[in-house]
C-alpha cells in the first residue's frame, strides 16, 4: 500500500508539489496524469525515496519512508522513463548486481524465470550496447521485479516499446496488480493506456491535486452528465486545456 500525506517539494522559491495526499491499496493501479511540469516525476521521485520531500509523510507497505528508508525501499521498485544501465555489465550481471543490492538469496532461478517471461533470456550474456531500447526496458523491469516488490512506480513505461512490447507491458502491469497484489502508480501522458490499465486516477496540475478516485468516479466528476466521456476529455476539462 502507498500512503502519501501532505507531500510538498520545493526547489528554492518554486513549489513543484504542493500538499499532495492520496493512497493506493494493494491490487490497485493508479494513473498519475497532468500537464508537463505538473510535478508527476517529482512526486514519483519523492515517493521512491530518491529525493527527500520538503514536507509530508510517505508510507510504503506501512513503513514510513523517512523513518526507515531502507525497510521501505526494500518493498518498492521504480521504473524510470529511460532505461539507465551499466555499460559494462551483461544482462545476467545486471540481475546479479540488483540481487546483491536487494539481498535476494539464490536469485538465479528467479532471474532466469523473469528473463524468460520478458523474452530476453537469449540476450542474457549481452551488454546493454547490444540491446534495443525495448530490451533495455525489459531488463530494467526484470531487475526491478527480482526482489518481488509490493509497491511499484512506472514513469512512462511504454516509451520506446513496439506494439507487441506495449501489449506485453500492459499485461505485465495488470498481472502484477491482480495476481501479486502490488500497489502500482503509473505516470504517463498516454491516456488510453491509463484507461486500459488503471483502476484509479490522480490528476495533477501545478503541483496540486485536481482530482483523485476510481476511474469511473473521476470521469463522472467531469462528464457534466454526458455519457461515454473519454479520459482525454476529462483531462482537458480538469486541467483547463493544458498541454499534455
Amino acid at each position: 500500500m502507498i500512503e502519501v500525506s501532505g507531500l510538498t517539494k520545493c526547489y528554492g522559491d518554486f513549489t513543484a508539489v504542493n500538499e499532495l495526499s492520496f493512497t493506493v491499496q494493494p491490487g490497485e493501479v493508479m494513473g498519475l496524469v497532468g500537464p508537463n511540469g505538473a510535478g508527476k516525476t517529482t512526486t514519483l521521485r519523492c515517493a521512491t525515496g530518491i529525493i527527500p520531500p520538503t514536507a509530508g509523510t510517505l508510507k510504503v507497505a506501512g513503513i514510513d519512508l523517512a523513518a526507515d528508508p531502507v525497510a521501505a525501499k526494500r518493498q518498492l521498485a521504480f521504473f524510470a522513463d529511460e532505461p539507465r544501465l551499466f555499460d559494462h555489465l551483461t544482462v545476467r550481471q545486471h540481475l546479479a548486481f540488483a540481487a546483491k543490492i536487494y539481498g535476494v538469496p539464490a536469485h538465479e532461478e528467479r532471474a532466469t524465470a523473469l528473463l524468460t517471461e520478458l523474452e530476453i533470456a537469449d540476450k542474457a550474456d549481452q551488454l546493454p550496447g547490444e540491446l534495443s531500447r525495448g530490451m533495455k526496458q525489459k531488463l530494467v523491469i526484470a531487475c526491478g521485479l527480482l526482489h518481488s516488490p509490493k509497491v511499484m512506480y512506472f514513469d512512462e513505461p511504454l516509451t520506446g516499446l513496439d506494439p507487441l512490447g506495449i501489449r506485453r507491458m500492459k499485461n505485465t502491469i495488470r498481472r502484477l496488480a491482480r495476481e501479486e497484489g502490488a500497489a502500482i502508480i503509473l505516470s504517463s501522458h498516454l491516456l488510453s493506456l491509463l484507461e486500459e490499465v488503471c483502476t484509479h486516477v490522480l490528476i495533477m496540475k501545478q503541483g496540486r491535486r485536481i482530482a483523485v478516485g476510481t476511474l469511473p468516479d473521476v470521469v463522472a466528476q467531469f462528464s457534466q452528465g454526458e455519457a461515454d466521456v473519454s479520459l482525454e476529455e476529462v483531462f482537458i476539462r480538469a486541467t483547463g486545456n493544458s498541454e499534455t
Binding site: 525501499k73 555489465l89 540488483a98
Partner: protein, 564 residues
C-alpha cells in the same frame, strides 16, 4: 560490508568485461596495431628505464632545498583547497552515474551506505589516478620499489584532494540549506582568509617564519611522502597522510548532507555529454546551445560550398567570431607597441619573448590545430547519408566541409603570425638580413600560404575519417583502452608524417627559387616570389586530395562501415 561487496562486484565485473571486450577487439588488425603502438609507447617512455637510478624530485631538488619544496608544495595545495571553498561550481560532492542513480537511489540503502559506496569508489579511483600519475611523472625511473613508493604518495595525495572536494561540496550544500547564500559564504571565506593572513603576519613577526610552517601543517602532511628519501622515513610520512585521508573520510561520512538532487542533476548532465560524444557531436562547453545569427548572409550568388562553411561556422564555439578576431587584432597591435616602448631591463626584451612564444604557438597550431578544430566532415560523418543526398559531387562536399576549420585555423594563425612579426625585431647590429622589408615580405607570404597549409593539414584527418570511418573518434562508441589510445598515436604520427611529405616539395621549390633569384632581386622580393610555387604546390595537393577522396565519399556506406 554489503555495500562494499556490491561495489567490488560492480567494479570487478566491469573491469573483466572491459578487458574481455578489448581482447575481442584485438582480433581486428586495426585494433591490434593500435594496441601494439600503445604498448610500444608505454614501454619506450615509461618502463624502459626501471634501473633504479634517478631519485624523486631531482628537478625541484636542483633548485630548492627539500624543506623549501615541502613548504612551496604545501602552499600550492593550501591555495587549491581555498579555491575549492571559494569556487565550488556545481560539484555535487558525490558524483553518481545515471545507472548508479537508477539502481542505487531507490534501493534499500541508507544515505550513509550510499556515501560509503561513493567514498570507497572514489578511493579506488584515486588509486587508478595515482598509477597514471606515477607513470606520467617518471616514477618507473626509480625502479619498481621507487614506483611503489610514488604510487602510495600519489594515492594519499589524490585521495586527500578528492575527499576534501567532496567534504567542501557537502558542507557548502548544508550551509546553503541552512540559508547561507553564495555571496555570504564568499564574504565569510574572504574575511576568514584576511584574518588568517593577519594571524600569519603577527606570528611571523613574533615567532619568525616557522609559524607559517605550522599553518601549512595539514597540507605538508599530504605532500611529505613525495619528499623523503629512505624507506623508514617514507613509512613514517605516509602514516599521517593516510590518517588525514581517514579524517576526511570521517568528515564526509559524519556530514550526511543531502546530495541526491545535485547528484541526479550532475548524472543527467554527464549522461547528456556522453550521449553527445556517442552521437558524434563532441563535448560542448558552456551549457546549452543558443540560437544565433549566421556568420554571413547566404545569398543565391554564393556556391553551395559556402552553405557548408556557413553551417560549420555556426557549429563552432560562439566566441570564435569576427568581433573577437578584430578585437584580438587591436589588442595585439596596441599591446606589442606598448611592450616595444618598455625599457630593456636585462636579458631579451619582453616583446621579443612574446614574439618567440607566438612563433612557437604558431608552429604548434599548424601541427595540432587540425586535431582540435573538428567542425568538418569528421563531426558530420554520422550525417553522411544526408550529405550524400545533396546534389553535389563528393569532392565539393569535402571542400565545403574543410572551409570552416581552415578559416578558423587561419585566423588564429594570422594573429600569432602578426604577434611574431611585430615582436621579433633583432637588436641593432644583429641579424642584418632580418630587415623590415624582409619581415613584411616573409610575413605577407606566410599569411597567404597559411590557409592552404591548413587545408592540406585538415585533409589528412578527414581522409583518415573517410578511409577508416570505424576508427574515427566521432563514430566510435565510447571505448577506451590501450588499443584506442594506440590508434590515436598512429593517427598523430600519420598526421606529422603527412605534414612533412606535404612540406617537402614546397620547401625544396621555395629554397631553389630564393637561391636562384635573391642575387638579382634581393632577399625580400625573392621570398615573396618563392611563395608563389609553394602556393601552387599546396593548392595542387589540396586539389589532388579532394579529387582522390571525393569518389571515396560518394561510395561511402557509413552503416556498413559501422557494422564491419
Amino acid at each position: 560490508m554489503h555495500v562494499f561487496a556490491t561495489l567490488l562486484y560492480l567494479r570487478a565485473t566491469t573491469l573483466r568485461n572491459k578487458l574481455l571486450g578489448t581482447l575481442r577487439r584485438l582480433r581486428q588488425p586495426k585494433y591490434l596495431f593500435g594496441a601494439l603502438a600503445a604498448v610500444a609507447y608505454f614501454w619506450f617512455f615509461f618502463f624502459r628505464h626501471t634501473n633504479g637510478r634517478g631519485g624523486p624530485n631531482h628537478l625541484f631538488a636542483a633548485i630548492l632545498a627539500p624543506d623549501s619544496i615541502e613548504i612551496v608544495a604545501a602552499l600550492v595545495l593550501t591555495l587549491f583547497a581555498v579555491l575549492i571553498w571559494v569556487t565550488p561550481g556545481d560539484n555535487p560532492g558525490l558524483a553518481f552515474s545515471e545507472a548508479e542513480v537508477a539502481f542505487l537511489f531507490p534501493a534499500p540503502l541508507a544515505r550513509r551506505q550510499l556515501i560509503h559506496y561513493k567514498l570507497i569508489d572514489g578511493l579506488l579511483m584515486s588509486l587508478v589516478g595515482a598509477a597514471f600519475f606515477t607513470l606520467l611523472a617518471g616514477g618507473m625511473n626509480a625502479g619498481w620499489l621507487g614506483a611503489l613508493r610514488r604510487l602510495g604518495a600519489w594515492w594519499s595525495l589524490n585521495a586527500n584532494i578528492t575527499l576534501h572536494q567532496t567534504a567542501a561540496a557537502l558542507t557548502i550544500a548544508r550551509l546553503s540549506q541552512a540559508g547561507l547564500t553564495t555571496d555570504r559564504r564568499r564574504l565569510v571565506l574572504i574575511g576568514g582568509l584576511g584574518l588568517g593572513l593577519l594571524i600569519i603576519v603577527i606570528l611571523v613577526v613574533q615567532s619568525g617564519a616557522a609559524a607559517v610552517e605550522w599553518l601549512l601543517w595539514p597540507a605538508r602532511l599530504a605532500v611529505r611522502p613525495f619528499l623523503v628519501q629512505n624507506a623508514g622515513d617514507y613509512l613514517l610520512s605516509l602514516c599521517p597522510a593516510i590518517l588525514l585521508v581517514a579524517v576526511h573520510y570521517a568528515w564526509v561520512h559524519r556530514m550526511e548532507s543531502p546530495f541526491e538532487e545535485a547528484s541526479i542533476a550532475r548524472a543527467q548532465k554527464t549522461g547528456e555529454t556522453i550521449a553527445r560524444i556517442k552521437s558524434g557531436r563532441g563535448v560542448r562547453f558552456g551549457g546549452k546551445i543558443n540560437a544565433r545569427s549566421g556568420p554571413f548572409t547566404l545569398t543565391d550568388r554564393l556556391p553551395p560550398e559556402a552553405a557548408l562553411l556557413w553551417k560549420n561556422l555556426m557549429a563552432a564555439p560562439a566566441w570564435l567570431n569576427r568581433k573577437v578576431f578584430l578585437a584580438a587584432l587591436g589588442v595585439i597591435i596596441l599591446g606589442v607597441r606598448f611592450l616595444q616602448g618598455q625599457a630593456n631591463i636585462g636579458g631579451p626584451k619582453l616583446v621579443t619573448v612574446v614574439g618567440f612564444i607566438a612563433l612557437a604557438f604558431l608552429a604548434y597550431l599548424l601541427i595540432i590545430g587540425p586535431q582540435l578544430i573538428r567542425n568538418d566532415l569528421r563531426s558530420d560523418l554520422q550525417n553522411a547519408d544526408l550529405l550524400k543526398a545533396y546534389p553535389l559531387p563528393g569532392w565539393r562536399i569535402l571542400l565545403g566541409s574543410l572551409l570552416a576549420p581552415t578559416l578558423i585555423l587561419s585566423c588564429i594563425a594570422w594573429l600569432l603570425l602578426l604577434t611574431a612579426g611585430l615582436g621579433l625585431v633583432p637588436p641593432a647590429g644583429k641579424a642584418p638580413w632580418f630587415t623590415p622589408g624582409f619581415r613584411i615580405s616573409a610575413g605577407l607570404s606566410l599569411a597567404g600560404l597559411i590557409p592552404f597549409l591548413c587545408a592540406v593539414q585538415l585533409l589528412v584527418p578527414n581522409a583518415a575519417a573517410l578511409l577508416f570511418p570505424a576508427w574515427s573518434q566521432n563514430t566510435r562508441p565510447m571505448a577506451g583502452g590501450m588499443d584506442v589510445m594506440g590508434q590515436r598515436l598512429i593517427f598523430f604520427a600519420g598526421q606529422f608524417v603527412c605534414l612533412l611529405l606535404a612540406l617537402l616539395p614546397a620547401v625544396a621549390l621555395a629554397g631553389l627559387t630564393i637561391f636562384a633569384t635573391q642575387w638579382l632581386i634581393g632577399l625580400p622580393a625573392a621570398v615573396a616570389l618563392a611563395a608563389l610555387p609553394v602556393l601552387l604546390v599546396f593548392a595542387g595537393e589540396v586539389w589532388l586530395g579532394l579529387r582522390l577522396l571525393g569518389p571515396r565519399f560518394d561510395r561511402l556506406d557509413i552503416s556498413s562501415e559501422m557494422r564491419a
